[in-house]
Every structure is written in C-alpha cells, then in structure tokens.
Symmetry: C2
Subunit: 682 residues, 2 copies
C-alpha cells in the first residue's frame, strides 16, 4: 500500500493561516485594487528610492578621476533628469495603449514579435531579481551607516529582509501597501525637507559641511578617451535613478478604476518627485562637499577604512544638514532604509504579475499563473525571494558589485518597449485608426524615447560589461531559451490532448481487479467498494512472493466465505506489477479488449514519519500499472488513526469528512452479501 500525508487539516495549515491570514474569495479581487494614494508608495518606491544610491554612485565614479571631476556632476545629473523626463513621457503613452499590465513585454510581443517579447521578459525577470538585491543591499547599507555595530551581520540582515518582504507579500497586495505607505511618504517628506533646509542654509551663507569634505583622493592622469569614458560611466551609474519607472506600466491592473488615468497620473507624480529628490540631493551633496569613494581606503583622511564602511551619501548629507546623531538624522536614515526595502517590494508586485502573464502565454510554468489563497501569485513571489537571496549571498550584499549588473535589463526593456510603441503608432497611422493628432504625438514621444534609451543602453553596456554586467548577458539568453522551450513543450502537449474529429467514446468491457495482500480491513474495504461499483466482472488478485502467506490467505478467503474468485499470481522475481500486467494481457486474450480498473488500498497517514514505516511498494506498483494501456487505478483510502490514538494529536477534519476508522461498517446493511450474485449479472 502506498502512503500519503494528509494535506488539509494538518498543523502546517494553521501555521500557514497565522502567517498569511484567511483565504480570500476570487470576487474580492476588485476590493484588493489600489487607490492612487496607496499605488504611489507601492509602485513608485523603486524609482524614488533610487535617489538613495543613484547620486552616490554617480559621484563615486566621477571621483575616480579626482575631486576636480565633481564639477561635471551637475551636467551629468542634468542628463539623467532629461532622460527621466523622456522616459516618463514615453511610458504615459504606453500605459494608455496597453493597460493590461504586460508593460514592455506585451508591447514588444505584440508589435515586434514573440522573440522581442521574450528578450524583454528575460531582461525584466533578471532586473526584478536585481531590484530586490540592490535595494535591500542599499537599505542595509543605510541601516549600517546609522548603526555601524550591525556591520558584521550585513548578509544575514539582507537575506532576512528579503524573506520578510516575501512573507508580507504572500499575505496579499493591499495589506502590504497599507503597511508601506507611511515610510514612503515619510521618505519623500523628510528628504525634501532636508534638501530645502540644506539649500536654504547655503543661500543664507551657512552651507552644511559633510564629514568627508576634508577627505581628498588622488585623481589619475586621464587621456581624452578615458575622460569621456569616465563621464559616461558616471552617467550610467546615475541612470540607476531610472529603474522602477516601468513598474507602474506593469502594475496597471492593480490600480483602481479608471485604471489608465490613475496609473498615468501616478507615473507623472512619481517622475516629478524623483526628479526633485535626485537633483536636490545631488545639489546638497555637492554643496556640502561629500567625498565618496568606492574603496574607503583610497580616501585620504578616512581613519578606520579597514574596519568600518564609509557612511552612505544619504547619511553624510543628513549628518551635514541636521547634525550627526540628531533625531532628524535618524529619521532620514530610517525612512531611507524603509523606502529601499519597499523598492524591493515593487519587484514583489511586478515579478509575479509578469510571471503570471508569461504563464498565461505559456512561456512559464502554469503554476506561476495560479493565485494562492490570498489572491496573489504566490509561486512567483517565492521564486523571486529565493533568487534574490541567492544573489545577495553570492555577492556578499555588496551594493557596488550588484549595481554593476543592474540597469542593463531595464534599458533592454525600455528600448524594445519604446520601439514596439513606435511600431504601434506607425501601424495605427497606416490603418488610419485613432485620433490623428494623438497618434502623431505618441509617435514623436516614443520615437524620442526609443532613440534615447537605445543610446543609453549602448552606453550602459559598454561602460558596465567588464565590470560584472557580462553575467546578465549570460542569464538573459538562458532564461530566453528556457521560456522558448517551455512554450514549445506546452504547445506540443496542447496539440496532443486537443479534442479532434477522431476523438470518440466507446471503451468497452469492465473488469475490476482488487489487489489483496493480506486478509486485512483496507483490502476488504477496497473489495467492498469494487463490489459497490458493480463491475461487469471482478477478481481478487494476490501476488504471491511468500508461499506460507499465500496459503494463509487462501484459507482465510474460504473461511470468510468471500465469493469473489481469488486469483493467485506467482511472482518469482518478487515484482508486483509484471504478474498483474501479464494477467490483464491473458484476460484480454480471453475476453477481448476491455477497460480494467485496478483497486489498490492506500494508507493515509497522519505524520510524515509514518510513511517511512510503510512500504513504498504500492506506489511503485501504481506507477507501473498506470503505464499499461486501458487501465485505471482506483485508490481506496484507509485512514490510519492509530498514530493519533497513541500520540494524542488529532488533526482538523475536512468539511464533509464525517467519521473515520470504520469505513466498512459505516454503510453496512447486510452482513457479507453473496458476491456470487453480483457475478451472476455478467
């Protein structure tokens, strides 16, 4: 007999409930939709939080050329701002044209074909994982900037936060957004105040001074080419401020109606906020003289570079403006850390949605398109969480290393998404659809977007490839190939099981085999059920591997006066399936083709360890018999209660599961009816 654990009613279920909350019905789906004021923190935290690291990475790269290079910072930052404006404008068009949440994937798929769509999908999947990793790493950086004692637990903290986010998200969208709205608004507010105060103090002649303002670093003597490359690299790193803009376009279905307008205005609001914070923070950092180096030890004046990390740019600015250790300093750091963790949360909204879309289109396992008890795509969330943890462990939660892998994917999807939009508008123009002015406007905006993002993609690739981004160019093709393979597999399966003209009913014959090991209740229950099903003919079959046991069974069979014929099959190789297969073959030779139902008693055990104590034989037999043509397997369950009697644990019964333990007597009417009668009606 096979054994299976009880799924429902087990204790693990109540633990799950405690963690995730009660299950929600499907019609609650609308109730889970997001109003704008909650959608902003959810979908915008990624783009906004980039402010916490984009200026830092921008300035850090520039400082590789020496302090003098910092004078180029405003220009580089301005380029980033311009790019941000263009991209936000482009995505406003995209949301309107494709509001189903497929985002760049859908646009590229529909307008540029399957392959472009899959390139975007693989780019986005990689980038979602990196969004989690980078944001959490940066968040932990900011926490450590405020509480340096935590430095030894950097990786553990990062992994812990990812798992926490995963758990929160598994509970469902709205609850997470509620919990997340406060810190996002706090971050926007407090950083804005910090920028204003910093700039006002400067205006009034009391400019804030960063702790690192006195640190110097030796600039290398750069050739003209290296000079330009350095500027481009700084720009590339600054572009990390753009990550997350696409999140809104992927999340449109989660918005409250009118979805498109709400999503669009959220996008614009987010873009505006991001620009103000990015530009403002860069300005205050420059004004207060933050000198931030990739390797703290290269800073002339930084004392304990070996033991402690350099505080993040955000921490240095906050300390300069409000004073190290002031309450406002800690508020800024806490809000920054929180919003970075929420940025990771964006991916927990986007990745499962994209996964579900891919699963719907049969490019990913169907299980990614299954909503869990709490109406979220649980499997996608778990996948994302585990992948992010792996990346964090591999890269030791180092922001500087992780950021090198980042953005490539974003700009791949930006470029292909915008190109798809251009194709979309051109097609509309040709077909004469839509408002002519609007179409032209869209075409111009998206053409600009496509061109600009393509250029940036090239810049980013060139400047980052050797710094670690090559890995992304390995992962993307792997994902691409996997998705293509999955699609081909599903297509083949669908074709195989498609109902066509040749599909007809008409299997005939109805022979039942009840496998009898010993004269025990589970076997008799199976026999009883087989009798109840009134098969045309029925045989109790015993596979003999031990002569003595067989003889005992034969005697008991006669004693109990069971009038179903007991067929003994010899099994010299102690195999249980082959003799039965042979029996079925012979039966068919005599009686013609017939459907054969094999009844197998099956123990249901209450604890995982119990299954160690029961032979796996029946499971093997079942799997083997299922390969035989024209055979159905009827599992007759027998719930083993003894463990619960001994160990005093009783699991919750499923609704409808009235009583257990005495299945044969439960519907008893007559004692041992002559089964021969049933046989007679053949």
């Amino acid at each position: 007999m096979t054994t299976e654990g009880k799924q429902p009613g087990s204790d693990s279920r109540s633990a799950k409930r405690l963690l995730l909350g009660e299950p929600l019905p499907t019609d609650k789906l609308d109730g889970q939709l997001l109003p704008k004021k909650l959608a902003l923190p959810i979908f915008a935290s990624d783009a906004l939080s980039s402010v916490a690291y984009a200026p830092q990475e921008l300035l850090m790269i520039l400082m590789l050329g020496g302090l003098a290079f910092l004078s180029f910072a405003p220009w580089v930052a301005a380029c980033v701002v311009v790019l941000l404006v263009v991209v936000v404008a482009s995505y406003r068009q995209l949301i309107k044209a494709y509001p189903s949440g497929g985002g760049d994937y859908e646009v590229a798929h529909k307008n540029l074909g399957e392959k472009a769509g899959l390139v975007v999908a693989s780019a986005l999947l990689v980038d979602y994982v990196l969004t989690v990793a980078v944001s959490v790493a940066s968040g932990v950086d900011n926490i450590i900037s405020a509480l340096p004692d935590l430095n030894p637990w950097r990786i553990e903290l990062a992994v812990g936060f990812v798992l926490l986010l995963m758990a929160v998200n598994l509970r469902g969208v709205r609850e997470s957004s509620k919990a997340f709205a406060v810190p996002t608004y706090l971050f926007i507010g407090s950083v804005f105040v910090m920028i204003v105060v910093g700039l006002l103090r400067t205006a009034f002649g009391d400019a804030p001074v960063a702790s690192s303002a006195a640190f110097t670093v030796e600039g290398e003597d750069l050739s003209r080419a290296a000079f330009i490359l350095l500027l481009l690299r700084a720009f590339s790193s600054g572009c990390s401020a753009l990550t997350g803009v696409e999140a809104v376009s992927n999340g449109v279905p989660a918005f409250r109606r009118p979805k498109v307008r709400n999503a669009q205005s959220t996008l614009v609001l987010m873009g505006g906020t991001a620009i103000v914070l990015f530009a403002g923070l860069t300005a205050v950092a420059l004004v207060s003289g933050v000198h931030y180096a990739e390797n703290a030890c290269s800073l002339d004046g930084f004392a304990n570079c070996e033991t402690a990390p350099q505080p993040s740019l955000m921490a240095q600015v906050a300390a300069a403006v409000f004073g190290q250790g002031s309450i406002l300093f800690f508020i800024i750091q806490a809000a920054t850390a929180c919003v970075l963790l929420l940025a990771a949360n964006t991916a927990f909204n986007g990745f499962p949605l994209l996964g579900a879309v891919l699963a719907r289109d049969a490019y990913a396992p169907k299980s990614l398109n299954t909503r869990g008890d709490r109406l979220v795509f649980s499997n996608g969330m778990i996948l994302l969480g585990l992948a992010a943890c792996a990346i964090l462990v591999i890269y030791q939660a180092s922001l500087t290393q992780l950021i090198q892998l980042y953005i490539i994917g974003v700009f791949v999807s930006f470029t292909l998404g915008q190109t798809g939009m251009v194709r979309h508008w051109v097609r509309m123009l040709r077909a004469g659809e839509g408002d002519r002015g609007e179409v032209w406007r869209g075409l111009v905006i998206n053409s600009g977007g496509a061109l600009l993002t393509a250029v940036v993609l090239i810049v980013v690739t060139v400047t980052k490839f050797t710094h670690g981004a090559w890995l992304v160019f390995v992962l993307m093709p792997v994902l691409y190939t996997l998705m293509l393979g999955v699609n081909r597999y599903y297509r083949d399966v669908d074709r195989e099981i498609e109902v066509d003209d040749t599909t007809t009913f008409g299997s005939a014959g109805d022979h039942a085999i009840v496998m009898i090991g010993k004269m025990q209740k589970p076997a008799l229950k199976a026999l009883d059920y087989a009798l109840a099903a009134r098969h045309e003919s029925i045989a109790a079959v015993h596979v003999s591997t031990d002569e003595e046991a067989t003889r005992l069974l034969e005697n008991q069979w006669k004693q109990q006066d069971i009038r179903v014929p007991l067929v003994i099959l010899e099994s010299p190789y102690r195999d249980f399936a082959v003799p039965i297969v042979t029996y079925i073959k012979r039966y068919r030779e005599l009686h013609g083709p017939t459907v054969v139902t094999v009844y197998l008693p099956q123990y249901i055990v209450g604890h995982w360890w119990e299954s160690l104590l029961h032979n796996r034989r029946a499971k093997r037999v079942r799997n083997q018999l299922m390969l035989v043509h024209g055979v159905a397997i009827a599992l007759v369950p027998w719930l083993l209660d003894s463990s619960e009697l001994i160990y005093g644990r009783r699991s919750r019964p499923l609704p409808g599961q009235e009583r257990r333990g005495e299945p044969i007597r439960a519907v008893t009417r007559t004692p041992l009816p002559p089964p021969g009668d049933r046989h007679a009606h053949r």
Copy 2:
C-alpha cells in the same frame, strides 16, 4: 492533473541494471548460499582483520606507561587469546541452538525477553556501523603506510571505499564473496609466512629490527591503581581482536547445507586462525621492537611526526621482516588493506540480515525486510553505508578515535547472548529435553562465556567510557526507544486493520464523478472509462474558477453532444476539493449513503522536469478527497509523449503496454454513444 514520473523503462533503470546486474528470481535463493571455503572469507574477515589493529592498539596503550610496560604484553595478549577461545566455544553452542541467523539478538529475545533482545539489537546495529568505520579507517591507514603520498585524501579514500563496498554488496552475496575470497586467503597466508619467517630468524639469531626500535618514549610515574588501569585498558584494546566472532552466528542462513555444521566448523577454523595470527603478530612485533605511540610526536626519534603519520604496526613488522620496499612488504600491506575492507564487508552481510530479522519481528521499518532485485536486503545496506560514511566524516577517519567507540556493543551482545544461552540450557534441563550430557556441557561452556564476557564488558566500559565510548551509550538507548516505538506503531496498525466479526461487506450506491477541467482528451478519456465502468449514475463535474473558461466548456459540451450531465461548481476561494466535498454531501442527502468514485485524469510524464511544468493541483485535490468518507479515487492515466517526440528519447515500454498516445480511439467501436442510455438503466 497530477503528474507522476514513469518508474520502469526509464533510463535510471538501465543504469541500475548495469550497476547491480539482472534481477534474480526468488528460487535462486538457495543457489546463492555459501560453501565453507567462501563463507570463511566473508564471515571471518572481520575477526581475522582485527589482527591488523588489535596488537597495535594493545602495545600502544602499554607504551603510555613507558617502554618497560612492553614486558607485560605477552600476558595481556594471552588473556585475549583465552577470552577468544571461550567466546568461540560459546558461539559453537549458540549456532547449534539457534541456527536462524538472529544470533545473539534471537537468543536474548527468546530467553531473556523482548527488552534484552532489543538491547542486543541496538548494540549490534551500532557495532556494525563501527565495524565498517574502524575497518575502513584501519585499511586506509595501512594503504597510507605503504603509500604516504595519499595521506591528504584519508577521509575521501575511506568514504569512497565504503560506497564501493555498498555497491558491490548491492549486487548480491555470492558475487561479492568470490571477489573477496582471494585477498582473505592471501592475507592469512602472507601474515602467517611473515610470522614464521620472523620467528625463525629470531631463533637463528638474526632477529628482525623494526624501524621504530630505536625510538623511545618517556614513561609516566604511575600509581598502583593507574598501573592496573593501564593494563586493563591495554587488555580492552586488545579485545578488539574478538570483534566479528559473532558474525558467523548471525550469518548461518547464508551457509550451504548442513548449515549448522558448516557454520560451526567455519567458526572454529576462524577462531584458530585468529589466535595464531594475533599471538604470532604480537610476538614478532615485540621481538622486532616495534615502538608505536598514539601520538607519533611523543616518540623520541621519530623525525617527521608533524607531516607524516607513523606507519601501522603491520607495516613496521613487515618492513622489519622482509625489508622496507620489498615486494613481500607491499603484498602484506595490500592484503592487510584488502582484508580490512572485507571486514567492513562482513557488516554489509550482517547488518541487513539483522535489519530484516528486526523488520520481520516488527521492530524496524518493513522495507528492511524487502529483498531487492538481486535478492539482498538493499535498504539495510544503503542505511549501513550512509551511517558509516557519516561516522567516518565526523571522526575524520581516525582509527584511534573510532576504536574507542568500538567493542562496547560487541560485548553487550556477547554477554546478553551467553546469558540467554544459559537460560536456554537451564530450561532444557528442567524440561528434561535434549541429551543430558550435551545440555550440561552447553550450560558449563555458556556460563563460563557469560561470566567472562560480563567481566570484560565492565572492564571495557570502565576503561573506555571517558575516552569517547559514552557516545555509544547515547546511541544505543536512542535506537532501543525507536525500535520499541516502531513495534508499538505496527502493533496498533495491525490491530486497527485486523478483520473481525464486525467486518462486513455492504457499501451501497455507486455514483461516479468525473472531474473536467477543459475539453481535452485526458478528461474525455476519464469520462470514457467512467462510462465503460457502467456506474449507477455519473456526473461530469467542473469546478469553476474562471467564468470565461467555464462558459467555453459549457458550449463545447453542448457542441460535442456529450449526454453526461455537466455540473458546474462555483469555487470563490479557487479551491478544488471543498466544492466537490460539498457536492458529495448534497448528493448523499438526496440519494442516501453511497460510495462515490471520483475520476481524475493524470498526466504521466517521461522526465522529472516535466512535472515542474504541470500543476500540482490534482495531487492536492486527490489527497484532500481521499480524506472524505466513502470516496474512492480513480486515476485515469494519460501518457504524455510530446517530450519524447521533441527530445528523441523513448523509454522502454513495460510488457503488456502495447501502444500509447491514442487511448480513446484504441478500443473504439461506436462513435460517441448516447450516454443517456446508460443513465437510463438506473
């Protein structure tokens, strides 16, 4: 739908065949029995191989007291020899009285009760694992003594050998014994020659001189108590020469007929050989002045104690007698290493046999009593192999540490086994059974044996407990408790499923539910089989989680003109089991108690990865429905071929598995018969 891998015909099967050989029928069991000349190497290698380490450990302990203590060595060795004679004599009696292979376990169980039996069993189980670990560790020691370059791979070598032994044993008893007979005889012969040559050279005034003869070690100033304790410790370590004597008594069923006489003479032959080799080797070692210390660095004169291990006693004697690097030296080392590995092999014969006996008596999982394809108890072998590997890794394959855990278990089972024998003879005396003289002889021999082994057990425990043997005293109670728990579990299950007077047939009613997800062949095949089974009433049931899909199905249902009623069940929580459970409940409210058969289509996939691409939903549904009272699950398999079509792999079909891929048409006679007719015969 659930997915299950195909067990037979898969590629893993052919790999298994290559490794293990073709399966053997049960009636070949007698052909697998051992003639004496093969039984000796198999069952005696353990006891004989102890010679390779027992003298070494004995001398090593004595040397803790300084070189002067070596003069006690002959006396201590003599004690060991006497003990060996007594134990062999005792076991001759035991084999005759209990030839079924249960050995000490059976004797203690039958004569002293269940608990004594389980104590013996747990002691033996622990000691089998340690036999493997100690023998392999010592074997690797001897290999490294000859080839010191292998020292860094000590643990890897040890684990590798254990896995090799496991694989060889999984192929079956006789083949392993053939492979193993040669080195055992080579070992006996070559060591015997070495002893004779060594002693003859001494007699003729040309005594061999060991390389370590010049090394000295400082003796501690010992109190009288410490002096005696040291002698006892040396004796305890020397007693490791006795391990393996019981192997023959546990292996009687594997002997060729007449089993008892063959086993007895093998035992005596083994005992004699062990005594000659042990005494001879100790003598030559003393004559040639081998100075062996636990820590090579404590030896005054041993140069590279930090980097290289001291050669084993066997290697030092061989080098002294035949010359370091001579061919005979390498033959001795190779034979020693081989016979030690074969000693480990003894455990691979004994452990699974004991496991099977325990499983037969319901103290261990039944799977330990299942003979594999090659007629051996495969599961026990795998368990032993893995446990030994774990111990070797934990103790870094260090012989000196492992030997501290050893012997305790052996003497526990010796003592209880002999005590049981005493009880056996006393009972026979009282009942007046058997030949009076023989019974009295047995009583005297076994009383002596019991007394002596009990004393030794106390000595061994006292001298070894703090040196690591405490672990054995933790493991044994754990095993003991586990076995008692397993027994109680099986007893409870057996009582629960026992057929009694109240067991009656008579389940009535015959309703079939066919779960329909989409209009696809697997679902229709399930419906077809349900129709073929001619249930009293039948309903196609669709659990609706997506309105659109449900509407499509309803239309197709009408289009295809399937006259089985399609019941739509709403599932707001996207659960599949609960709506069906509710449906069954309502059905029974209307029609009275009835057996319900739920038909579930089930994908059978060819590769493990395919199951990732199919929802696990049906498996969950199946497990949930099996908890419902009065429900049987009929699995209708659908073999997915597409993967093989794409990837060009086709697995071997099971006999009887004629054709695949078109199950519905296969037995077609009439296209789409009106199922309404079937309904009518209610």
